[in-house]
């Protein structure tokens, strides 16, 4: 495969495009609302109207506003239809043909803040290309960054570019990506092997960004992994994906097969000396496997229990070899950085957090779905402008970020900019990007108890503070919730939180008390109210 061949595929793809294209979302959210049948009906209606020469219908990845799915958009013009059903699909085609029917599905304004305020890097092709065809990805520039990397950059130059871009890990902790790559590149394993692992074990309840990226633009992730492998000197990669995401697994498998067939993965990629293979490892439903040492144990076929660090996986990971582990979204950022240069990326965001972040906006909010915004955007902008506030106009009480490891941020702090440091300062974390909006009807004690129940069940059982501590914390929270707790219980709750936080082995235990601590900090009156015996949520 040469650049010319890649260009030829792109040109063929462009030439085959028809003047009008109807895009229908076939990501998991819309598929659950009959998206596949809508796609079929659209195709049938185009055929019936004799428009096949001018109009094409294609299934695409996530169009972001999941709550209004299945979504259908028409190019050019961008008319966007919401909640399309198989029955109303022909009306969309009729409108395209210039004869709008009365029963056409509702149209959304594509210029509304939810879409207009977004800044797309990771999701730039999500919702516009067919995720099941590699040609569609190549037509929008896919694998060109890999070509450029292999032929024009040395591994050191790639690492330097990633370092200068200021990209930080999108899995939650925000470790500088360039630094991690440099460590792996420097490390020497026992037998010279190195590995690149893509962490797609998106376990935080309420987070679905990685799933959407894998379902909507899998080649972007593979390209990022290949560039990383070249930079650190690895020739084998693993994509570890949650078993709960069958569609993401299927599309990634397909993408790997297609890339192999075109010689974009495998041996001597782009006629260079670089070989890279990717295998998928399917997770089996353990939240702790998102922790990197537990994930390594799981890929090796063991129970997913973490081990103390150091040594870090960058020096001693899979089978004792240096291993680079990055999140799906981190890998999805790599190709644009190589394509547009590190300075371009570093120009977006805040001083300490560069680029954009994808959030999964859900809960009691009008616009549920994916949003990608520059780092430093305030929570208020995300929740009120993009999210459209609470449906029915009630007030927002808090947002929860970072899943079971994060915290609840009250409405009065909504002017906090979203970046790694600011979120830690207010007692939460960036996390992988789940953002759950809660209105006045949600009891914060119940939320804390919900997350503690999660951590109690998901604790791997290896270290005592987490295994026993989470059970005791859950017991105390249940007692408070039931209205039978005393001041002494509350004091013990606080004390135990600190203990579990400071003495647990891995991130799961260390961050498990965060939802309790943040609700204690911002909503002490709810705990106090329940101590006095006022059972139930505060309205």
């Amino acid at each position: 495969m040469h650049l010319a061949e890649l260009q030829a595929i792109a040109d063929r793809e462009q030439a085959a495009r028809k003047p009008i294209r109807i895009r229908c979302c076939v990501a998991a959210g819309c598929l659950s609302s009959d998206g596949q049948a809508v796609l079929q009906q659209l195709g049938a209606a185009v055929e019936a109207a004799g428009l096949t020469a001018q109009v094409e219908v294609c299934g695409v990845g996530c169009m972001r506003l999941c709550s209004q799915g299945p979504l259908v958009q028409v190019d050019p013009g961008g008319a966007l239809y919401a909640k399309v059903t198989p029955a109303s699909a022909p009306a969309v085609v009729a409108a395209v043909a210039g004869a709008p029917a009365d029963d056409a599905p509702a149209q959304l304004d594509p210029a509304q803040p939810f879409f207009a305020r977004q800044w797309s890097i990771v999701l730039e092709h999500s919702g516009s290309i067919d995720p099941e065809r590699i040609e569609a990805s190549i037509a929008v520039g896919g694998y060109q960054a890999l070509y450029h990397t292999l032929h024009e950059l040395t591994p050191a130059e790639v690492i330097d570019a990633i370092t200068r871009s200021g990209l930080r890990g999108r899995g939650g902790a925000g470790y500088p990506t360039g630094l991690k790559w440099a460590t792996v590149a420097k490390s020497q394993g026992p037998d010279g092997r190195k590995f690149v692992v893509c962490n797609g074990d998106e376990g935080d309840p309420g987070a679905f960004m990685d799933r959407s990226v894998l379902e909507s633009d899998p080649h972007r992730v593979l390209e990022g992994m290949a560039i990383a492998a070249y930079a650190v000197g690895a020739s084998q990669g693993y994509a570890y994906v949650r078993g709960e995401y069958p569609l993401a697994i299927r599309r990634l498998e397909l993408a790997i097969r297609q890339a192999k067939k075109l010689g974009l993965l495998g041996s001597q990629i782009f006629d260079s000396a670089f070989d890279f293979r990717v295998d998928i490892r399917i997770g089996a439903g353990a939240f702790v496997c998102g922790e990197e040492t537990a994930l390594i144990a799981s890929i090796e076929g063991n129970r997913g229990t973490p081990r103390p660090r150091p040594p870090y996986p960058a020096e001693c990971g899979l089978w004792g070899c240096p291993t680079l582990i990055n999140n799906v979204e981190t890998f999805a950022n790599i190709a644009p950085i190589i394509r547009n240069g590190p300075e371009w990326f570093a120009g977006i965001g805040t001083a300490g957090s560069k680029g954009t972040k994808v959030f999964a906006l859900a809960g009691n909010i009008a616009n549920t779905g994916l949003v990608e915004v520059p780092m430093g955007t305030t929570l208020r902008t995300i929740v009120e402008e993009l999210g459209g506030g609470v449906p029915g106009g009630g007030g927002v009480k808090a947002v929860q970020t970072g899943g079971p490891s994060g915290g609840c941020i009250p409405e009065r702090l909504f002017d906090t900019p979203v970046d790694y440091e600011s979120l830690v300062k207010v007692g939460s974390i960036m996390g992988s990007g789940g953002m759950i909006v809660m209105d006045g009807g949600t009891s914060m004690v119940e939320v804390a108890r919900y997350f503690m129940e999660f951590c109690k069940d998901e604790s791997c059982g290896k270290c005592v503070p987490c295994r026993v501590g989470t059970v005791q914390l859950h017991r105390l929270l249940s007692k408070i919730q039931a209205g039978v707790a005393t001041e002494a219980d509350l004091a013990q709750l606080r004390e135990l939180c600190t203990l579990v936080k400071e003495t647990s082995l891995c991130g799961l235990g260390q961050s498990a008390p965060n939802p309790v601590l943040s609700t204690l900090r911002y909503f002490p009156e709810e705990y106090a109210g329940l101590l006095r015996g006022e059972v139930g949520s505060e309205q």
Binding site: S32, A207, R211, R281, I282, A286, G301, G363, I436
Partner: protein, 174 residues
């Protein structure tokens, strides 16, 4: 592969029961060259073929991958996806992710538990229905979400969910 190992493979694929599923399982293990680190992949395949992981099946896998049975049992019980008991004819999975929780999934679960007469994670005595829970399906945009026999349904109300399950719990002869 040595001649001896080849004979072994031959024997295993001709499982005495004549059950073709063992042949498919054997093929998966062979594809992974009987490497112990393929254990989780093999367990996924075994569950896909047999529906659940019986003790005999775990022992067979342990034997073929040359692993102690304790290790295989340890891994199979560690991960939530693996089930060591057979499921009912139908399954209903309630997503308990944060978004679904905020949208009332807990109430939905209580109603379903009441209707089926079993707790979450259990199967009805007549083996008609298994009521299960999931940590998060990643379908937060359409919360609360349920999975009926493998098909995700979003924006579920309690009435809608009960309606579906009632049909399955109907004790009339099929």
């Amino acid at each position: 592969m040595t001649a001896q190992a080849a004979v072994k493979t031959q024997r295993a694929s001709d499982h005495p029961s004549g059950d073709n599923r063992f042949k498919l399982l054997e093929a998966t293990m062979k594809r992974h060259q009987y490497q112990p680190d393929a254990l989780i992949e093999v367990l996924h395949k075994a569950q896909e073929l047999f529906g659940f992981l019986s003790t005999d099946l775990l022992l067979l896998i342990a034997h073929r991958l040359r692993l102690p049975p304790s290790r295989v049992f340890g891994v199979a019980t560690f991960y939530h996806i693996f089930s060591l008991a057979p499921l009912g004819e139908h399954t209903c999975v309630v997503c308990l992710g944060t978004a679904c929780f905020v949208k009332g999934a807990a109430t939905l679960l209580v109603a379903l538990e009441h209707e089926a007469g079993v707790k979450a994670g259990e199967t009805t005595a007549d083996k008609r229905l298994s009521l299960l829970t999931a940590r998060c399906l990643g379908a937060c945009g359409i919360a609360p979400a349920l999975v009926f026999d493998g098909v995700v349904a979003g924006h579920q109300s309690t009435d809608e969910a009960l309606e579906r399950v009632k049909g399955w719990l109907d004790h009339a002869p099929r």
